[in-house]
Subunit: 255 residues, 2 copies
């Protein structure tokens, strides 16, 4: 049995609380947040605190707080030589105060408040400084049923950067699809099956092989029609830049 | 029972053949391709021809050929006043020779050679000139179990343009995620669950509400780290342009 204190009240903290609370082999001793109101609805499930002086002993402390808060919160913890983990993709593991055993428990997934998360589909990227901490962190991930991958700092930062492309940037392309359709009298809903299929396709096929469309085919007539149809200069710029990128990838000339 | 001739040998033609061949209430009379070798493996299932003079009578003719071939092929058809449909998102319905009854049967989905398609998830956008053709086209879609939407030319062209953003451009962002990870020693596979979850999220939530990440949060520190980490100028340009787009959408200042 691994004992745990969770710190933070955002989406990651909440999803981790719910998942660890159901997990066998893990016992959550406390849930800390500076903003106790944000988690007070869970007070019947777990001891909730907003005072670090009251923090209990545990095998691991998970700081699921904003990137900027990790360093300071870790130094405020009133103990030392215990395993303290952060959950960020981009913060250095050395940002955790050096009085602790330090590690990273980075769930490579998007968390929303209202969406259920199945940790079977949340790869946990694990980073440690001392080797002895690794099995504890790995067992925490296993308790959630999550796949794990040991990474170093550079790999984790690269994964976080790539995640911005495939998640935030992709979502913005969905948003542009929404703007284009709704502003010109078409229904965004009709695009939803295509969005899902596009994501499913690259689960088994490389994005290189999965590519189709006018840019890859170098179908200039269609591309010019599209540019004419776009009303927003911002959308035109994105159309042109990503078209160039596709043509570069697939050995076509620039538009 | 609706009788049908399919023309073309690409992915759309092949998926339509397979689906209509299984459908009740539809009988495929023939499958035509100029390149008969491309479809000869189906010769035990259906009469295959490469000579338009041999084409049989049918209730509808589906031209699932490349955009540029639609006009010419339609004028070569040795009959008139029959229902002739094309399957393109961007070609004008009037590009079909005016000797025919003309319509569009546009499946708004991505088709790959090796991926099975369930037409339950393929919205069929229907366009007709004469109203009497509409029920025949709609019944063809219903026979596939596909949802249908009647659209006009402008709406169809806008949907096709938006599809390029959410499908081809999104796939290129996956490709860039692949390039970034593999070139810097990380595993693209770790991003696959995130790719899928990002697409699932907008099935029930607007892309506006689904957005997260450093651009939306205006987290300058992380954005600068990311730009520094990107080795390829093309990737940097895309990072900056889509970041600006997100910040514009969410009322943040430009990077």
């Amino acid at each position: 049995m691994i004992s745990l204190v969770i710190l933070g009240s955002g989406n990651v903290a909440t999803h981790l609380f719910k998942a660890f609370n159901k997990a066998e082999n893990v016992k959550i001793n406390q849930w800390y947040s500076r903003r106790i109101d944000a988690i007070s609805s869970y007070k019947n499930d777990i001891e909730i605190i907003d005072d670090l002086a009251k923090i209990k002993d545990a095998d691991a402390y998970i700081l699921a707080v904003s990137d900027d808060a990790i360093s300071e919160l870790s130094s405020q913890l009133p103990f030392e030589n215990k395993l303290v983990l952060h959950t960020s993709g981009s913060v250095n593991v050395y940002d955790i105060d050096k009085k602790h055993k330090r590690g990273v428990f980075y769930p490579l997934q998007t968390f929303s408040k209202d969406t259920e998360i199945d940790f079977k589909h949340v790869p946990i990227c694990i980073e440690t400084i001392d080797k002895k901490s690794y099995p504890i962190i790995k067992n925490l991930a296993i308790a959630l049923g999550a796949p794990t991958k040991r990474v170093n700092s550079d790999q984790r930062k690269v994964l976080h950067l790539a995640a911005v492309f495939v998640n935030n940037f992709t979502n913005q392309l969905y948003r542009i699809g929404h703007e284009i359709t709704e502003s010109q009298g078409a229904e965004f809903d009709l695009l939803k099956p295509l969005i899902l299929e596009t994501a499913k396709k690259v689960q088994n096929l490389s994005p290189f092989k999965a590519q189709t469309g006018p840019a890859k085919r170098d179908d200039k007539k269609t591309m010019l029609k599209h540019l004419k149809l776009l009303e927003n200069q911002h959308h035109k710029d994105i159309y042109q830049l990503i078209t160039n990128s596709i043509q570069h990838t697939h050995g076509r000339k620039k538009l």
